[in-house]
């Protein structure tokens, strides 16, 4: 008995759209992506939030914080990923990024960017991952 064969997808398909970047990435005004590409973080860099960006509270929630903001600040007293915040608060990822972008702009939280796959991969990073997995 032989397994079914995969037929390769047509090679002449149009290339996938580029990921939205800070420069002209958002095609339509009003698209949710735009909300966090236009907000600046404290160091002037643009806040591109990933599922695994780590969020850390810079201070305890003050009296001016909204209930949503207070909930995030309490949860990320220790670093927590956007995905975990979204899961605990039961908010969709894009709604979560809007809330976090407000908190970054208000300097209430700090975002620690993830390490993403690069054209020039980081061998020492992969070695660290291998060592970490080995200890499981």
């Amino acid at each position: 008995m032989t397994p079914p064969r995969r037929k390769r997808r047509q090679q002449d398909l149009p290339p996938p759209p580029p990921p939205p970047g800070p420069a002209g990435g958002a095609k339509k005004s009003g698209s949710p992506e735009r909300l966090f590409t236009i907000a600046g973080s404290v160091d002037g860099a643009r806040a591109e939030l990933d599922l695994v960006t780590l969020i850390v509270a810079r201070s305890a929630p003050g009296p001016a914080a909204s209930p949503e903001q207070a909930a995030v600040l309490r949860l990320c007293a220790a670093p927590l990923s956007v995905a975990e915040l979204s899961a605990y608060l039961q908010l969709p990822f894009s709604a979560m990024t809007v809330l976090i972008t407000e908190l970054i702009a208000a300097e209430l939280v700090q975002a620690r960017a993830p390490i993403v796959r690069q054209a020039l991969p980081d061998r020492s990073l992969l070695e660290a991952v291998m060592h970490g997995l080995q200890r499981l």
Partner: protein, 206 residues
């Protein structure tokens, strides 16, 4: 949701909190057909109870997929189960499993783009459900390994027969696993990381 009772919002248990030294995270995505064991695999290696995040795909997201008319306003919720492994006190690895309809996974901006790599989990009883996702990973340049979750009543094929059927180049690892076992799931992740490392050494990763 009502945030006024935010004191009672469930959060991580004390022992599940990351140390303050955690500086950055990386992610690996586990893809495959319905019921193939993605969530089981996440659960077997995760240091936290697996959690679920979701995203609502609306017109803006659907418009980028050429299978959909841009006038479609249907909103679809895509859920991701995920788990976490602390690599060092500074580095955290997140594993995302992808239940639901695969044609929506690739609308989730950034899910695959930033991932170190992917595990394509296959069930030899339904090998064809993984064909489309492999094509999409190749198009996006996301490196992946193929892990065959060995169900007792599933047909067993020699690796080279699978490689031919899946039309994969000789360097892409294909291995058997039992995702219910932590050691086996760990072995799959080790195989992926070693593969990524070999790509880094050969400079083939683009």
């Amino acid at each position: 949701m009502d945030f006024n009772g935010s004191d009672t919002i469930p959060g991580p248990r004390t022992e599940d909190q990351l140390p303050h030294t955690a500086q950055a995270a990386v992610k690996i995505v586990i893809v495959g057909g319905f019921g193939v064991g993605k969530t089981t695999m996440v659960g077997s290696v995760s240091e936290i109870r697996p959690l679920t995040t979701e995203e609502t795909m609306t017109q803006a997201g659907i418009g980028i997929d050429d299978n959909y008319g841009s006038d479609s306003k249907t909103a679809t919720t895509v859920a991701m189960d995920f788990g976490r492994i602390s690599i060092t006190d500074k580095l955290v690895l997140y594993l995302f499993g992808t239940p639901g309809q695969e044609r929506f996974w690739f609308l989730w901006n950034g899910l695959f783009e930033g991932a170190l790599g992917a595990v394509v989990l296959v069930d030899t009883r339904r090998l064809e459900v993984s064909f489309d996702v492999m094509g999409r990973l190749e198009e996006r340049g996301v490196p992946f390994v193929v892990a065959v979750n060995t169900f007792p009543d599933a047909p067993r094929y020699p690796v080279e027969e699978l490689r031919t059927a899946l039309d994969l180049s000789p360097d892409i690892p294909i291995l058997d696993c039992d995702v219910r076992r932590r050691a086996s799931s760990k072995d799959v992740l080790m195989t992926l990381t070693r593969f990524l490392h070999s790509l880094a050494l050969s400079g083939a990763l683009t």
